[in-house]
Symmetry: C2
Subunit: 356 residues, 2 copies
Amino acid sequence: MTTITVPPSPLSPDEDANKLRKAFQGLGTDEKTVIEILSHRSAGQRLAIAKAYAHLYGESLLERLHSELSGDFRKAVMLWTMDPAERDAKLANKALKRKGDRDLWVIIEVACASSPDHLVAVRKAYCSLYSSSMEEEVAQSFSTVHPLSKLLVRLLTSYRYSGDHVDSELAKYEAAQLSDAVKSNQIGRDDVIRILSSRNKSQLKETFKYYNENYGKHIVEGKHQCKTPRPKWMAAKTTLSPTRGQIGSDGSGKKAPADIEVIDKSQFTTLLKTAIWCLASPENHFAEVVRTSVVGLGTDEDSLTRAIVTRAEIDLEKIKEEYKIRYKTTLRADVIGDTSGDYKRFLLALVGSEGP
Amino acid sequence: MTTITVPPSPLSPDEDANKLRKAFQGLGTDEKTVIEILSHRSAGQRLAIAKAYAHLYGESLLERLHSELSGDFRKAVMLWTMDPAERDAKLANKALKRKGDRDLWVIIEVACASSPDHLVAVRKAYCSLYSSSMEEEVAQSFSTVHPLSKLLVRLLTSYRYSGDHVDSELAKYEAAQLSDAVKSNQIGRDDVIRILSSRNKSQLKETFKYYNENYGKHIVEGKHQCKTPRPKWMAAKTTLSPTRGQIGSDGSGKKAPADIEVIDKSQFTTLLKTAIWCLASPENHFAEVVRTSVVGLGTDEDSLTRAIVTRAEIDLEKIKEEYKIRYKTTLRADVIGDTSGDYKRFLLALVGSEGP
């Protein structure tokens, strides 16, 4: 459910490109026009405008936006104007370079909160942009971090069946497998990763439903009541499987770590939780991303921009509903409170109005 | 390099469909016309004919071929007429049901001897046809067979960079990793699977080249001189990594094997070899598939058909060259010796002539 509003009879791509060109010319940039046009056009229309702009004026719209705008406003407008697959490939690449905890969220979002076709398009774009595959970089970057590498690679390389077919018996069986992994303190076990990385999303929702019904009560996240409860097993006391030393040194003579690293348990649990949310109820995850980016001192503009730009045409309406329930305030109000200027105006145009 | 010959001015799809329709009508089928048309049309032309046929006569060309033809000829013509991605999805599904040694070859061929885009198309087709993903079925079918499951899933889910960029330092480093895995008798090690399943094909060829140059002499396969020598490490004494018991029982209460199975070492080595050949020199692998299908008593028509039908428009010309060098006879001569009737005529039309 998109939150942007497209005029019933928008201008043609050529007309839009022309208005943008005029907004760039002269002293200073007419940011108001840039926002007015780009924030009210769908992904397809934005691509058509970029194409028309390049054709008419012999320069790249993205490059011109880069030279005309600045700061967080520029970042947001550029991410919004890019081809969505290319945008996500770039976000993933940046995250892979930084490798912080929050950066891993980005990788998991791309892997789990995308449609199978979009995920493939992102992987193609990644190969074109960086002359290497996304899984190759992930596998190499985290090759000694067990079982994180396996989890990320399997999630990123999935092409899930996207129909609604659900096998209830299988869901019961696999809910039991998940329960066993939790009880045995082996949450990084191969079968857990296999289930999360290969089953279709409807099937997984059924599995989590059985889990909640049969292996404990719903988990309420923190003080806030989730609309879609986080599967209970995510909050159980969990540790990784006892795999330390399984792989051994790589023996290459170039760089031979004495042993593999084992990722911090709570960090792995958080990432697995992120994956489950992105798979079963991405609106929960993205509500948390936005909230985390605005609470406390300072704002994490990169995360705020990413959540709004990447979800505006997918499920931002649901994220806003979830936000209201969980945080007793509106996403729009939090954006107003934490941003300013053109950046604020642009994000608010994407966020749209809040319902009654 | 395709081996089929397409007339410089072929009939239109409507005209071809009409000729096929006439070949089906009356008493008996005019197989000669079926062969004459279909074996001399490219994949795109065949799809256009099938579309025109359905449009003109309100029935599926594939279904009509199924009811008009029979035996190995029917199987071959149908595989040839199908959309290539759908064809490979069907071959993989059949192989997954049977799970014999030779069936695993089929999975590896699809995973390693396809272009990245074709592999994705096969995975999409698989989801549409079977309401589950290919990796889901592979992961489930072989979940207790370690490390085969990991190898197959990682190969099948790859989307490799398909450019020519090669990093020589990386090739040296990874050749050393492979050598270490062989020396430590741990050929099923995670780093071996990571390298084979994520690196681009040009990079892998460079890695195997370094391996051959630095860790031993070339291996000559059996009595026959390979044009592209099999990487030496494939013939070294190798065993799997000592992973027995790593995963433990699945603890589901439904079916809880006491321990995981460990695939027979020589079987795993053969499969890894198949993967390496399909990645670095598929013509070697398919020459072997054809040869194995015709030598000895009886013919393995399914394998013979698969090799010729799936490679005719890709690299059958190279396979024929390789065949001549390795087996001191021609592929065409072996097809003539082991097949008969319309089946023979059809395969020979796809195989084309042998050079001087």
